[in-house]
Symmetry: C2
Subunit: 229 residues, 2 copies
Amino acid sequence: MRAIGIIGGMGPAATVDLHAKIIAATGAARDQDHLRVLIDSNPALPDRNAALEGAGPSPGPMLGAMAQGLERAGAGVIVMACNTAHAFQGDIEAAIGVPFLSMIDATVDATLTRAPEATHVGVLAATGCLRAGLYQRAFAARGVTALVTQGDAHTRFMDAIYRIKAGDTGRDVRDILRAIAEAQARAGAAAIVAGCTEVPLVLTQEDVAAPFIDSAAALAARVTAFARA
Amino acid sequence: MRAIGIIGGMGPAATVDLHAKIIAATGAARDQDHLRVLIDSNPALPDRNAALEGAGPSPGPMLGAMAQGLERAGAGVIVMACNTAHAFQGDIEAAIGVPFLSMIDATVDATLTRAPEATHVGVLAATGCLRAGLYQRAFAARGVTALVTQGDAHTRFMDAIYRIKAGDTGRDVRDILRAIAEAQARAGAAAIVAGCTEVPLVLTQEDVAAPFIDSAAALAARVTAFARA
């Protein structure tokens, strides 16, 4: 059994959500049957989106240091509760001697398991994540086209994400995200990917007609299985 | 600003709950305005209740080691997401050079702020916590009598706690806890204390007519204020 280290804080509520999903995926009956989880939820991390737009310092060095700290504390596998920050996965992997499991890879695999015939999928992802091409490249490598938000729709999406980060998980925010997901489905998306960990804090499968893939749940399932193996 | 270290895993869901309550108590609008939180959720910890009944090894040494690890990782204040484990607070404090804030003290203070005229309060706490007299002594020092579960009522209470730990947060479990709280109110309790961190996972102020004090929320408020000071 490996202890799971979570690089978190981007945002804090999404970190809580990933932790809760790891506990649910473990499905233990007693405290003693759970996995050890170590978390560093660090708000001092430089803004990922700003860095990827060339408007701020890279969070890479601090992400590497956080991963090192988690490994030193006993983590045998590291994950990160933020899709966008996976643009700096190389900095993390260079800093540690234990495996890092990618949320992007776990989510793409979960999507193609749920929708194996998909040629197009909708991806709800933040500016930096799109700019870094994380989902577009990962889906393209599997022969699938990622439909992403653009223009006004992307502006509305990011406004919703920042409202969620500020604690607003109300109906209005959910309606904005649902409308964007519905537009992607109308444009041919066979599945909708919550490719930003704030999305599943308000949007769930119940809100979307197409198969809905929660990146936090996909990573929780993968890392729980890995830690137990 | 101090980083908050959480000794957790007793149980894991209660650890998630304390983390979520710290985020809510922080009330930040941006990721960058939150507090750093370090968590060690460690299911390998020996059973607290068994140890306090003389039926198992003490978790004290491991709690001290966990606290040390959190301090080494950067925590400037340590808390613990389990009331019963506060019976081993001495082991923790002996192991660290940073302050440890007691959930018991935070909860007693919050109770007497909410119900300043109380002569009797009801305490919903686990076997080991009662056996160690944590709440009875802390309330007695303030001139207040703690009414605690006994006999069949305590057996029903512990059955509910172990069901919550196994993931059952349904109505049946809530009804059991509500009936016990109502009996304490009828016996003269001016307030009901959720003195076990599993209790607020199912029971809230809405379920109880008397002032209801959630030990996780009380500690979250205290440690958030302390970490920011």
